[in-house]
Symmetry: C2
Subunit: 324 residues, 2 copies
């Protein structure tokens, strides 16, 4: 199998590549398991620290049509398309968001259509496609009503991927991801950045700001679970996708208050006290428009899975980033 | 008011222009009623037969960026964007559909954004954005699941228009139109073409083919009602659009069988007998994926209206095209 991963140097991209290398094989579009021969790890930033002869690191701008031509060819069996700019960035810079989050996807799909090879394609959509009046638990047939440019761009990708798949230009699967926590590293421009920050920073001995009310309900998934689901999404046969190519992932529904409780339980009261409440209306507006719970019946039927306890999610992070 | 109408030579475009000329004024974005000074009637085909000094006929391809620059300028107060290729055409020629039905809209919106004038914008979406498992009456919060490229392109336009409106680049309203009947003239490539054909051809003394089962339920609107709603959609103040810019229109829900009954009642059994049942799977597949009834609660709240009796719709057609 020849695999392309875009956004390879990102949070999910790097972990996906590590998981794929460990796994060693994937199911091709004919349903056959085949060894992974090459993973093209594409990103604007160079992916470093993975030393495996199967990985070919390529740097470039995904919004550049010439880059795409060299990146995707008739030998490309599968594409994991993860490159994107985060929600707050797409909101702050409309042109950038449209170019990276939507047009690049459109051009990649066009490249694939022109090749005529119908590769497998897994990408990550977002719950930011939802908004407006929402029931407490969002059903799979809930209308899309993005309240951000990021959500709009993801929804447009979903529509395109579904139509390209219907026409057999590509064998697409768009996984509508919950917010992934705990994300390591620094806070980023995503409106949801605090959801990791309020766990990560206190564990690192730093104070952290919570910009939303304590009763804000979030829809979460751990990094390990996300990678498992990305690979599961790839492995499904297209004949199983009876309700379409855009799949609301299962997740863990939890309030910010309970997240902090779990942190207290796992790491102690002193750690949990490092969280400061500091309302931020801009972030509240975006995050508050995202639903806090989904039925996700279709995805559960398809065998996608969710984290069960938030304390496990915290322990996953501690285990991985604070060994000892 | 300086108005641009795209698709001006089409079925709805021509009628809209006639109605606007008769009306003489429109409400601008500040809420003030102003006389219509100019209507730019843009289409690939030349609009003929309307002789009014306020109408400026312009021919060109809407997918051409240079054309757009001359078409839309800082003086453009309102845009009625109706140009499109029909569903079967967009299905048969993927590139054509994407170019005219989606990319042209995107480029027009970009032109408007760059001008920074935030004109009013009314466009026509379609029930073809829906598909898959549908309740008997489709609620306003029903997920979009287009089963055709035409529906996909319309849904992408809706998403874009909503985001451009949210960012105040444009003051948009997308009206999700039922199938408009009775359409005069020849059958066209729209999958829904038969819905007019089974009324129009028999009235003209010709036989007509019905390609779908008699119990197929359609969601219809008469041309006069469609024009009324397009203008109503323009006249609404943006502060009224509390549930968003994409509005499922009210309509008349009726089975093909009842349509034929209405024809029999209005024009006699002999006329109704000119309809031949001839199943066509391709058309059945597309039309069958469209919902036959909508709640359309939001649009009714906003004051959009529907036809009440199909016999009236037939009489509207007879009155207009067969006077005497
Ligand atoms: N992390 C989450 O909570 C979450 C939730 C829902 C969806 N997603 C989606 O999952 C995907 C991956 O998320 P992530 O958390 O790993 O994001 P990330 O920001 O860590 O990684 C994205 C990567 O894309 C790269 N990139 C950006 N612009 C590029 C360009 N023009 N050309 C090439 N590469 C470019 C960045 O350099 C970065 O390495 C994204 O599409 C994101 O929208 C993430
Ligand atoms: N009639 C219906 O039942 C119905 C239902 C739902 C939505 N709509 C939508 O309403 C709009 C108008 O519908 P209509 O029935 O009047 O369609 P129509 O086909 O009669 O008119 C469309 C017009 O667009 C023009 N056009 C096509 N490509 C063009 C291009 N590249 N450049 C410039 N002009 C171009 C055509 O010449 C035509 O005159 C369309 O957007 C259609 O999708 C119609």
């Amino acid at each position: 199998m020849n695999i392309l991963v875009t956004g390879a140097a990102g949070f999910l991209g790097r972990r996906l590549i590590e998981a794929l290398l460990l796994r060693g094989s994937l199911t091709d579009r004919t349903g056959q398991s085949r060894p992974i021969e090459q993973i093209v790890a594409f990103d604007m930033v160079e992916l470093t620290g993975i030393n495996d002869p199967r990985v070919k690191v390529v740097c470039g701008d995904i919004a550049n049509a010439h880059v795409l031509e060299r990146l995707i060819d008739a030998n490309t069996d599968s594409i994991f398309h993860l490159a994107a700019v985060v929600s707050s960035q797409a909101e702050a810079d409309f042109e950038l968001g449209m170019r990276i989050n939507f047009s690049a996807t459109q051009h990649m799909l066009e490249r694939v259509r022109q090749l005529g090879t119908c590769p497998k394609w897994v990408m990550t959509s977002s719950v930011a496609v939802f908004g407006g009046q929402l029931p407490e638990q969002v059903p799979d047939n809930q209308v899309w009503a993005p309240q951000s440019s990021y959500g709009t761009q993801k929804a447009m990708n979903d529509l395109l991927l579904a139509d390209y798949s219907r026409r057999a230009f590509v064998d697409g699967r768009s996984l509508r991801m919950p917010t992934i926590v705990v994300r390591p590293g620094k806070p980023n421009l995503a409106a949801s950045s605090f959801a990791s920050g309020i766990i990560r920073e206190p564990l690192n001995g730093q104070t952290s700001v919570c910009p939303v009310p304590l009763d804000t309900r979030l829809w979460l998934m751990s990094p390990a679970q996300a990678i498992r689901n990305l690979i599961h999404g790839h492995e499904l046969g297209s004949e199983q996708l009876t309700e379409g190519r855009v799949i609301n992932m299962p997740g863990l529904s939890i309030t910010v208050e309970r997240m902090i409780d779990a942190l207290r339980q796992t790491a102690g009261a002193q750690v949990a006290e490092r969280i400061r409440l500091e309302p931020n209306q801009a972030i509240e507006r975006i995050v508050g428009s995202w639903p806090g719970a989904f039925c996700a019946a279709y995805s559960r039927d398809l065998g996608f899975t969710a984290d069960e306890r938030f304390t496990d999610v915290i322990e996953q992070f501690i285990h991985e980033y604070q060994p000892g």
